[in-house]
Symmetry: C2
Subunit: 379 residues, 2 copies
C-alpha cells in the first residue's frame, strides 16, 4: 500500500465533504432547485474576492477566464502591457497576441517580482496602454507580485485596466479587489478553493464593464455581458457545471467557518515554515523576492536533478509535488501549501524531501528541516 499525498500547486486535494457533496444526484441548472445554489455561490465568491462587483462563473479551466479577460474588453490593434515573470506571464502575452493586441512586455527575471515604479514609468511614457496584465502569484517561480502597489499606480490611469490572474493566489493571499482597484481578476477552482478543475471565476469592475462596451472581438463561449445578465437571474449563460458549483458552496462554507483572515494567516504560516525548513536544510528559495504563500520553489543542490526528486517522491513515497518548468526544469522542486493544507502536510512534504535528497546522495541530517518547521508551526 502506498498512501498518496497531493502537494502540487493545482489541482490540490479536495476535502471529503466537498467530494461527497458533488456525489449528490444531479439537479437541473434552469430549475428552481439550482437558483439558490448559484445565488449562494455568487455571494460566496464576492466575499472571497473582497468585491462588490459581479464574479462570473465559467465552465472552463482558469485559462478560459484569462481568455475572457482579454476578448471582452479590447479591440485588435490596441496596446497592452504584460508583466512577464514566468510561464504564466508568457501565457498572458500569448493570449493577447492570439486576439490581435499589440503587447509590450516588462520582462521580470524568473524568481523576482515586478517593481510598480517600472509600470508607472511605462504608463507615463505611453498613453496608448489600455491595460496592465499580471499574475498575482506566478506559479512557475513561486513569486507573489505586488498587486497592491501595482493597483495604486494603475488607478491614476483612467483609460487603463488592471487585470490580474489570481488563479494560484486566491485564498492564499489577501487580495483586495475593490480597495486596490483591480478591474478584472481571474480565479480557478482547482487551487486554493479546494475543488476539482473545471470552473473559472472572473470579477469585473464598472470601469471594465464600460470599456467592454466598445469591444468587438469575436466571442461566444466567454461572453461576459451575457454571463452577467444570466448571473443576475442566478443562472449561467450555458449549462452550469452543477456538481462543481455545489462543491464550490461547500468549499466556501469551510473557508467562511475559518474566517478569511485566518485562512490567509494559515497560508502565510505554512509557507513561512516551509521556507524556513528549506533554509535549515541549506537549500535556497528560488523566489528571491516576495515568495508566495501558495507554493514554495526550492532550489536543488548542485548535482541533484529536480525532476528526479519529483519522480522519486512520487514513486517511493506517494507524494505528488511539481518540478520546474521551462528554464527552471531540473533546477527546482515545487511544493504547494495551498487550499486544504495544514501543519502535517508541510511536515510530510519536508520529511519526504529530506529522505529523497539523502537517498540521492546529498548530505542531509534527517530531521533538520522538519524540526525547524515543527518549531515554527508550534507557535
Amino acid at each position: 500500500m502506498l498512501k498518496r499525498y497531493l502537494l502540487a500547486p493545482g489541482p490540490t486535494p479536495v476535502p471529503p465533504e466537498v467530494l461527497l457533496s458533488m456525489a449528490m444526484p444531479i439537479i437541473h441548472h434552469r430549475s428552481p432547485d439550482f437558483l439558490p445554489v448559484l445565488d449562494s455561490a455568487k455571494k460566496g465568491l464576492q466575499w472571497l474576492f473582497q468585491t462588490k462587483n459581479d464574479v462570473l462563473i465559467l465552465a472552463s479551466t482558469g485559462t478560459g477566464g484569462m481568455v475572457g479577460a482579454v476578448n471582452n474588453f479590447f479591440n485588435p490593434g490596441e496596446k497592452v502591457l504584460v508583466i512577464n515573470g514566468g510561464k504564466f506571464g508568457e501565457r498572458w502575452t500569448k493570449i493577447c497576441q492570439a486576439y490581435g493586441l499589440r503587447v509590450e512586455e516588462i520582462v521580470v527575471e524568473w524568481g523576482y517580482s515586478i517593481k510598480p515604479a517600472l509600470v508607472e514609468s511605462a504608463l507615463k511614457k505611453d498613453s496608448e496602454i489600455k491595460a496592465v496584465f499580471v499574475q498575482a502569484t506566478e506559479t512557475s517561480t513561486g513569486v507573489y507580485h505586488d498587486i497592491k502597489g501595482l493597483g495604486s499606480v494603475i488607478k491614476n490611469y483612467p483609460d487603463t485596466l488592471f487585470i490580474v490572474d489570481a488563479i494560484s493566489a486566491l485564498v492564499a493571499e489577501d487580495i483586495r479587489t475593490d480597495e486596490w482597484g483591480i478591474d478584472v481578476m481571474v480565479g480557478g477552482s482547482q487551487k486554493g478553493l479546494m475543488l476539482p478543475p473545471g470552473l473559472a471565476f472572473v470579477s469585473v469592475s464598472d470601469k471594465a464593464w464600460k470599456k467592454s462596451e466598445a469591444s468587438k472581438m469575436p466571442r461566444f463561449y466567454f461572453n461576459f455581458k451575457k454571463e452577467r445578465e444570466n448571473l443576475a437571474k442566478n443562472q449561467t449563460n450555458f449549462t452550469s457545471a452543477v456538481t462543481l458549483i455545489i462543491g464550490l458552496n461547500e468549499a466556501i462554507k469551510i473557508l467562511q467557518k475559518e474566517g478569511l483572515e485566518n485562512v490567509f494567516k494559515r497560508h502565510a504560516r505554512l509557507a513561512n515554515a516551509t521556507r524556513e525548513a528549506v533554509k535549515a536544510l541549506g537549500l535556497g528559495i528560488y523566489s528571491k523576492e516576495s515568495p508566495s504563500n501558495s507554493v514554495t520553489a526550492i532550489e536543488m543542490p548542485e548535482g541533484i536533478d529536480g525532476q528526479l526528486v519529483y519522480k522519486t517522491l512520487r514513486e517511493k513515497y506517494g507524494i505528488t509535488g511539481a518540478g520546474g518548468q521551462d528554464k527552471a526544469k531540473g533546477k527546482i522542486y515545487r511544493m504547494a501549501h495551498l487550499g486544504y493544507a495544514d501543519t502535517f502536510d508541510v511536515i510530510t512534504g519536508i520529511a519526504a524531501l529530506e529522505m529523497v535528497l539523502k537517498q540521492l546522495g546529498h548530505p542531509i541530517r534527517l530531521g533538520t528541516g522538519v524540526a525547524r518547521a515543527q518549531e515554527l508551526l508550534m507557535e
Copy 2:
C-alpha cells in the same frame, strides 16, 4: 418527503457508481497517474463516436465544443450553410456570425426534419459553401435530423465540411461518424453520457484537420491543434477536468457492458413507448417527422399551458422535465429518455403526466398511457 426524478434532456441523472468514482481523491493531470485515465477515455470516446479520428476532450459545456468547431476551421468572410430547425440550429448561426462567417440558412419548420435534397441543391448552386452545420437531435423540437442522408450528399463536395452537433443525440442514436463522413462532431457530458455538465467532446476528420491549417481565426482556449498534440501524449492542453474524466471512464464502462447496439435499442424502445403512450392519451407529438430517441416533445391539449404542466410536475410530483423554448413555450412539454433511463422512468413520466393533466382539468382516463407503455415495454 418528495422523491426527485430528473427527466430533462440534459443534465440527465448520473449513475451512483459514476458519482462515487468522481468522489475519489484528486490526481494530478500531468502525473503518470492520469495518463492511463485519459488514454482509456480517448479510446472509449472513439468507440462511442464510431470513429478512428481523435476525439478531443475539452473542459467546457457542449457549446464550447460548438465554438471550437467554428473557430478552428474557417476564416472570416467564408460562407457556410446552417440548417436551422430550432433553438440549437439558431445557435450554430449565432456562433458562425460571432466569428465573422457569412451564414446562409435553410430554415426548417419547428417539428420537421431537413430534406437532404435541399442541402444538395444548395451545395450544387453555390460552390462557395465551406461547411454544412446541423444538429443530430434538435433538442428544442425533439427532431432527429437525417445525418446519414446528409452525409451521403456532403461527401461529394471535397471542399465542404460536415459539422454535426450531436450533444443530445450521442448515445441515443446510432451515428456513424466515419462511415457517414462526418468531419466534426460535437458531444457533451451531461446528456446520454450520464455525467455532470463540464466536458465537451469533438471528433475531427483528416479533411477537417487539413482545412484547419489555413484557419486564422483568433483562438486560444479552444485550440484543436494544441489539444490534438496533447491528446497524443494522453494529456489535455490546459488543466484536465480530472474528476469528470474519471467519471467518463466509469460511464463508458457501463455503456460498453451493455454494448453499443443494445444501448441504441434501449433508447429506441423507451422513445417509442413514450410516443405511443402519449398518442394513447390523445395527445400529439410535436416532432411531425423523425422524432428523436433522446427526448419526446409532447403537444399540450387546447387550454393546457405546458409551463404549468412542467411546474406542477416539479412541485407536486418531484419530476423535472422541460417546457418548450421560444415559439414552443407553453405549447409543449418535453420528457427525456436519455442516458441512465429505463422502463420505469418512462412509466413514471407518463403516469405523472396523466395525473397532472387530469388535475389541470383535461379529460384523461388514468392509466391509459401507462398501459400502452407497459404493453410495448414488456415485448
